[in-house]
């Protein structure tokens, strides 16, 4: 496995190769300064020794890449918020008990927290960033009114400020914790949620849980991609909106949906010279055409209607080979931003025991994972509720309402009288179910290639290619759990977040139905061993 970084004015540089291979230092040795910078950066990011560590691609997309771009745009490392991993460092074990735990502090989580606080419940809300807000921090300017949580907000930051003020009012009832959740365990009658932050290892005992971790950027499957010539839509939004910084002159945006519109909007505003927008579906163009027409820099947007994307070449610039009416087409750009599909963060609900359905459509070569709810936000597991992006409510307003609804459902289930008419409650329920249905149509994953040549990467952690899966199928090992163990998909650093859907698609494309998703095992995220530490559990 290798990992490349696209550095402005320097082209792509290989920074890390698998420790199993021999020529891992070649490119780095050519540039001693870069080597030094990278080494320092890796150490500071907690990846340890650059030459031995394998950096999971998944993390690069979301964290490392952004941090490196930030560093290269002359933001001083000293002022940045990089966390340190100290060898002798031992996190403190903190036990807390609460009535309600909300996982995720985006619009959905906050909506639930505020509703619960109104009914005088003890609430803990846990988010993995220094500041609350989740998606609100990256969306930026709203493109149309029905996104805003509070009528009149034109920007997600306005909404965030309004919400923050509300949270302050309920300061006593709602406690916010910064931490990354890695496990949901049922111990006797109570749920124990394990999480960690820089200083603490949290054990949170909760009677009811609302899971609202948002959505995660999905990854294109059948493009021979090297990172990070291609970056995910939410990753790009983060770079653009967090630091108000657009490191590219000419960009390729793949697929059209709300996230790509936000990127397009910001890109035009920041003076990008040309936007190449690749779309696959006329229907989507119809949905979003009215927004596109109102865009000011319309002449800078070039729309390519393609049937498939075949290959991606990475050099100094990105070149995508696409097909349009059986004609080859090359589309260029400094970077390509993939907004094609969303994978809900199904690993959290799956670990809690909630069914994840696979919905496949062989004719259109599509597959989708759907988190099963029995009634809006209620799940088949008692005392666990879902809200926000994970059930398909992706607009801030939709997410906020789904959060409120989950809180209300939880209150009703524990026998608390709510001050709301049945009709009002039912209207909210209808809204959540409707937006879920609508998003189901938009967020499906497609096989980009018409013809698979076998060399397409399915699993970036272990470099598993389509041909490896075919080999397993040919042997008659046609079960997703068996394929997992035969090829290694789902066992790497991403634990199936990237590779599960592609595998299911490949299996489907070759006529084998995957009846189940592979089992999701705790910890939900790769968990540094020092968090649990040597002295935290002392043997008796």
């Amino acid at each position: 496995m290798q990992c490349r970084i696209n550095i402005p004015n320097k082209g792509k540089v290989l920074i890390c190769k698998d420790f199993m291979s021999e020529n891992k230092e070649i490119l780095l040795n050519k540039d001693p300064l870069l080597k030094l910078v990278m080494k320092q950066l890796f150490e500071k990011l907690g990846y340890g020794d650059l030459y031995y560590y394998i950096v999971p691609r998944f993390e690069i997309i979301n964290k490392l890449y952004i941090k490196i771009i930030r560093m290269l745009s002359r933001v001083s490392i000293k002022n940045s918020k990089l966390s340190f991993t100290n060898e002798s460092y031992k996190p403190k074990r903190v036990s807390i008990e609460t009535d309600y735990l909300i996982i995720g502090d985006g619009p959905a989580g906050v909506g639930a927290a505020l509703t619960l606080a109104e009914y005088n419940q003890r609430v803990i809300i846990i988010g993995n960033n220094n500041e609350m807000g989740g998606g609100l921090k990256i969306i930026g300017e709203y493109i149309n009114n029905d996104e805003s949580i509070k009528a009149g907000s034109t920007n997600s930051i306005d909404d965030l400020n309004i919400i923050k003020n509300h949270m302050k009012k309920h300061g006593e009832a709602i406690k916010r914790i910064k931490g990354e959740v890695f496990g949901i365990y049922k111990e006797k009658d109570i749920y124990v949620i394990t999480a960690y932050s820089e200083n603490n290892y949290y054990l949170i005992k909760a009677h009811k849980i609302i899971i609202a971790p948002g959505i995660m950027d999905g990854w294109p499957l059948f493009v021979n991609n090297d990172l990070p010539g291609l970056i995910g839509g939410l990753g790009a939004l983060k770079i653009i909106n967090y630091w108000n910084f657009m490191p590219w002159h000419e960009i390729i945006i793949i697929d059209l949906n709300k996230v790509s519109l936000h990127i397009l909007h910001s890109a035009i505003k920041m003076g990008v010279k040309r936007v190449n927008l690749i779309i696959f579906d006329d229907a989507k163009l119809k949905i979003y055409d009215s927004y596109l027409q109102t865009e000011k820099g319309l002449e800078r947007i070039h729309i390519f209607k393609c049937d498939t994307i075949e290959k991606m070449f990475s050099g100094k610039r990105i070149k995508i080979q696409a097909y349009c009416n059986n004609k080859k087409l090359y589309i260029n750009g400094d970077t390509a931003i993939y907004c094609g599909h969303f994978v809900p963060r199904y690993n959290l609900p799956a670990q809690a025991g909630i069914t994840i359905e696979i919905i496949t459509d062989k004719i259109n070569k599509m597959a989708r994972l759907n988190v099963h709810t029995i009634d809006g936000t209620r799940t088949e597991i008692n005392d666990i509720y879902l809200a926000g992006g994970v059930i398909g409510c992706v607009n801030p307003r939709e997410a906020y309402i789904s959060g409120q609804l989950s809180a209300l459902s939880a209150l009703i289930d524990s026998g608390i009288q709510i001050n709301m008419s049945h009709n009002e409650y039912k209207n909210m329920l209808d809204k959540v179910i409707n937006c879920k249905k609508m998003n189901e149509q938009l967020f499906t994953m497609r096989v980009l290639n018409k013809k698979l040549n076998g060399n397409e990467i399915v699993c970036p952690c272990y470099d598993v290619k389509v041909k490896d899966i075919l080999k397993a199928l040919k042997l008659g090992l046609n079960d997703i759990e068996t394929i997992k163990r035969y090829t290694g998909i789902g066992t790497g650093e991403c634990q199936g977040r990237i590779c599960m859907l592609p595998t299911i698609l490949v299996m489907n494309a070759f006529g084998v139905n995957a009846p189940n998703i592979m089992k999701i095992r705790p910890p939900i995220i790769p968990l540094p061993a020092y968090i649990i530490g040597e002295n935290i559990y002392e043997h008796q």
Partner: protein, 376 residues
Amino acid sequence: MSINNTVWEKKYEVIIIGGGLQGLSTTYYLLANGVKDVLLIERSYIGSGSSGRNLGGVRETHDTVEEIALGKEATKTWGKLSKELDFNIFFRRDGYLYIATNEKELNNLKERWRFMNLNGVKAKLLSENEVLEIAPYLNKSIVIGGLLGINDGIAYPFAAIWAFYLAIKNLGGTILQYTNADKLKLENNGTFSVKIKEKTLHSNIIVIAAGPGSIDLASTLGINLPAKILKRQALAIERQPLNIKPMIVVPWGPIAQTIRGEILGGYHDEYECSPTDFTPTRESLEKTIWYMIKTIPTLKTANILRQWAGHYVESPDKKPIIDALDNPEGLYLNVAWRHYGFMMAPVVGKALAKSIISGKIEPILKPFTINRFIYK
């Protein structure tokens, strides 16, 4: 797997219940010895039980005569298995390295070594320095001595499972996956019927090798197996450039590195659970990481990837129950393997297949018959 009608209409010579390595190897050796109609039934995918959840250790360093006899045969068999089945099972004879961390444990190891030596096990007592020479990554402050099982080794559990699976397919055996054998019944004519969904299969001979499911299954024929189900857990740490060759056994549990570089371990902690309970616990995660870091300090900066739970089926004397019953005749048991079902499977499968063909239990399996629990 698609099920065609011929599967249902046939009467089988042998039906084996349980697609772990025990069931698979028994099926394979039956077919290899000329038995034609053999059917294997597995309720999930093959190797989904303890056969796929263990660390892959194969050893002869046991503590009783009968287990050593099996173990010695096992280490020999595993060495030849890749060739025999024409599939790389990644068996490496890297040994078992038992570590003593105090005087008491060291004396215990010495005693075990004397017994093993007496029974022809190839094992060697090591000093502190010798241990650290073999395993320089170990925490120097905890090691005071060790014992190396020289013939022992590690295989990749799933490779072994697929090797037998493919061999069975080549010989024309039938394997039904995702099929639950709910109920066994002894018919009036002395044959057995197995109920699967709404259909019924018939056979003269039934082998129960269904791990934790065996207890309920045997009870449908009125047989009470003296066994209980325990939960045991393990976890995997991401690939590390450590080159841990032998299976390291410290007093708290084992540590092994897979061929891919992941590091596995699991705290010695077992408690009773139901046969369907596979949920890993937080306590086990904490304990396991604690002893793994204590043993190999550099693991501190590594990431934990996943944890899982499996089952031990334990008889009162912690040894397996292998038997050819007289009443009902034709019922074979191969259960309660606790922690070493995987490593013994090729040997026991072979012996059990021979026993089924001859109708008499093989000498190597004699010490494990169910009679030993019956008061005479």
